[in-house]
């Protein structure tokens, strides 16, 4: 598993969609379709993950240890995977949020 450090500049920062996925999953495990819907809702419709992009987003986050598989529901074609956030995911989200918060505070102050 990759070791992710917020301080390591070689690790790419979270993309907006990824940040929102982490935000959504803090409330509990969810399947991919639910994640996309929740992300759209919480971003007020500004972030819509396209069908062709869904597996890319999720797989990359799994690979980086931000998410893990919580289990499966249903069988065969209807089988759906649920994801939950890892402790690393929480830390990264919080660190990313702090960076963003300071930037936002600066923006609002000016």
């Amino acid at each position: 598993m990759l070791i992710v450090s917020i301080l390591d500049p070689s690790i790419p920062p979270l993309k907006p969609a990824e940040l929102f996925v982490l935000v959504v999953l803090r409330s509990g495990p969810l399947h991919g379709y639910g994640i996309v819907q929740e992300v759209a809702a919480r971003s007020q419709g500004r972030i819509r993950i396209r069908p062709g992009n869904l597996y890319r987003v999720l797989d990359r986050m799994l690979e980086r240890g931000l998410l893990e598989t919580a289990g499966h529901r249903g069988t065969g074609e209807e089988r759906r995977t649920e994801y939950r956030i890892t402790s690393l995911g929480r830390k990264v989200a919080q660190a990313e949020a702090r960076v963003l918060a300071s930037a936002i505070a600066e923006l609002l102050a000016s």
Partner: protein
Amino acid sequence: MLRLFLRAYPKQLRERHGEDIVRLCRDYYGPGFSPRAALDLLWNGLCARAGAAPGSFEEWLERPAREGRGDRLLAKLLYDARHGVRALAKSRGFTLAILLTLALGIGANTAIFSVVDAVLLRPLPYAHGARLVHLLQPARGVGVDNVSFSPLEVQDYRAMSRTLDAVVEYHSMQFVLLGGAEPQRVQTGVVSANFFDAFGVRPLLGRTFLPSDDEQGAPAVLVLSYEYWQRAYRGDPQIVGKTFTMNDKVHQVVGILPRIPQYPEENDVYMPTVACPFRNGKHWPNDRNARGLSVFGRMRAGVTLERTRADLTRIASQLHAEHPESYPSAERFDTGAERLHDELSRRAKPTLIVLLSTALFLLVIVCANVANLTLARLVRREREMAVRTALGATRLRLLQQLLMENVILALCGGALGVLVAGWGMEALAAFAGRFTTRASAVSLDGRVLLFALCVSLGTGVLLGCLPALPARANLVADLKDGAGSTSHRSRLRVRSALIVSQVAVSFALLIGAGLMLRSLLKLQRVDTGFDPENVLTARIDLNWSRYGDNDKIRAFANRLLDWLQSQPGVLAVAFGGTVPLTGPDAFTIPYQVEGVPLDGAARPQTELDIASPDYFRAMGIPLVAGRSFSAADQPPGARVVVVNQSFARHAFAGGNPLGRRLSGDGGKNWATIVGVAADVKQHGLEREPADEVYSPIGFDVFRDLRLVIRSKVPPLSLEREVRAAVRELDPDQPVTDVRTLEQVRADALASPRLTAILLGAFAAIALAITAAGIAGVMAYSVSQRTQEIGIRIALGAQREEVLGMVLRQGMALVAAGLALGFFGGLAISRAMTGIVFGIAASDPVTWIAGAAMLAAVGAIACLLPARRAADVDPVVALRSA
């Protein structure tokens, strides 16, 4: 349905995310199946397989070229495709030129193939199409290919045949249909009850005929053709069950036919034989000699055409023995059969084959041109290729990429070509409709699209293989500088060969177009025998039940003529039995000349027509001898006739026909010849006039009258008066086919004119492409020889000498092309012998004019590069060395 497209994703991804992806797609593109959702799944799935990053097509094009992970072959293909599209997008002018030529070539082929496919290749759209035959009864002794059958003969063949499991009859008449908004003259097919069953045609609505419909006293029923149903009733399904009045009897509509090519003719409605007042009259069903029915048979399963023919011959000889009086041995009766499929397309075949081969020739030129452009572009990319080879690309890999580029080009050109084809298809189908009823089935369907795809792919692969042709010289030389290397010489040779082939094919196409054009000009100059200027014609087919005898017909005709004669602007008004050039429906009778013994020979045949007194004046047909009819030449007056020159020549061998007497009924009645009229082209501009006898109105039963009015005013302005006059005399009497004689004549020229236009357009495109090709190759050759030319000029060569040198080089290619094209021209002119009129296939004017035209165009195309060569500044040329 969407899940099917999900299969584009690799299995692992599908299992993990499939359900989510499908649901997302529904959210994104709306519920249910949408093509965009399918495309999204397909595209992203393939990208996932190739290991490439997903996204939209546009994003994909923008992304830097990099071979992905995953499925190697697919990744490579996608990579090549992307590389190809970008390379083509970079040289827009080149791409556009190639796309346009390809679109023309593939479009022309697709359009013509769609007609060829519908008319010649596809099986008949009848369930039993392959087993259907048309029965023919030739009488070779009198030179008739098919005298058709009488009802008694139909019965005999039906009862005695061992190879046919159905024998059905057909004839067609005009009847007047009452009960709609206004009286309508309808073309009515009168058929056996099992006619549609034998053909295997199932109704679109309602039913076709049952055996009980064809029994004496059965209620009269009608089946409508699809076209008439759409035209007259706008496809109203409620029409089934409605009743109409026809021949003073109530007829009920019981069914609608599907949209099929009708055979033998297009009809508006169909009725069973028992409902036809003629077919079910007193005379016709009981006279073996009363022939006039077309007969079709369905061969038993597994029976060959040869066995059927033998069977029919057997029946014929038996009938000949039983009824010798109906089959005089001098007339040499026989019975045979032809496949319906062949009959339906026979007239269209020669023209379509010529058009298809012309289109294929055009495609050859297009391919040669695209190949030439591709080679020219390769020269410019030589350094790119050399660099890439130096960096490790294999020769195979480079070829793969070029192949992909060409396939993409050809497919795009093909897609454009399908648009071109779709645009021209309607006109082409209308054109083919002049030859065969099958043309109604012409469409851009799956088969045609598959053809276009195959042609495009084939073209792409062929062109993609071209760069492999000239053997590559060593790379180091190319890297240093391409000029003057051996690869350029070999490439110029290939390009010159391509030009020679283009000239050759252009020559063949010019010959084809030239022959057609000359034939058209000859046809236009044909003397029809009548004067078409300022003449109106109209068709007035009298209702059979209302105009039962000659007196009633004559009374109607005389009153209408009197009325119209008094109208202002009318010079002459008359009735005839036919309008020349409008159809083969001549009435033919056997005749004998008084005082000429038959000596056992068959009685000769002549066409019989009717004419009111002013007919020859109204039509502008000159009388060569004697007089026309007068008002006194009507019953009970003495019977007189006018014959045409052709008749006079054949029957009297140059002797004076005036005063001689003829009989058309075996000597019971005799008619005196009082005049000789000039010959008229009744059946087509290209056909010789037939023997013809004109009889005054009132002696023979002719109900299908043709009104002819010669006027001082524009003829069509009289249409209103004609309709009003007929309505005044008989409100139920329709007037149809109102046309001027000039329109009739122009119509007779329409199909040769369109063939000439098509062939001419093909030849013009070919010529333009070839000229551009010659200019391009010569310009390339000059640019390669700049230094050499510079040296020549520096050493004292004159401007004219340089000009002449380049011209000579270019014209050598043209000459070689002409020599080669001679054979192509021979092939195309041989194929055209059947469709040209009045000229030989070896017509020297066409051949010389074609060669001269190509030589002139070639010389002009060479002139520009030649002048550039002559203008070479030796100082500049030598310095750049």
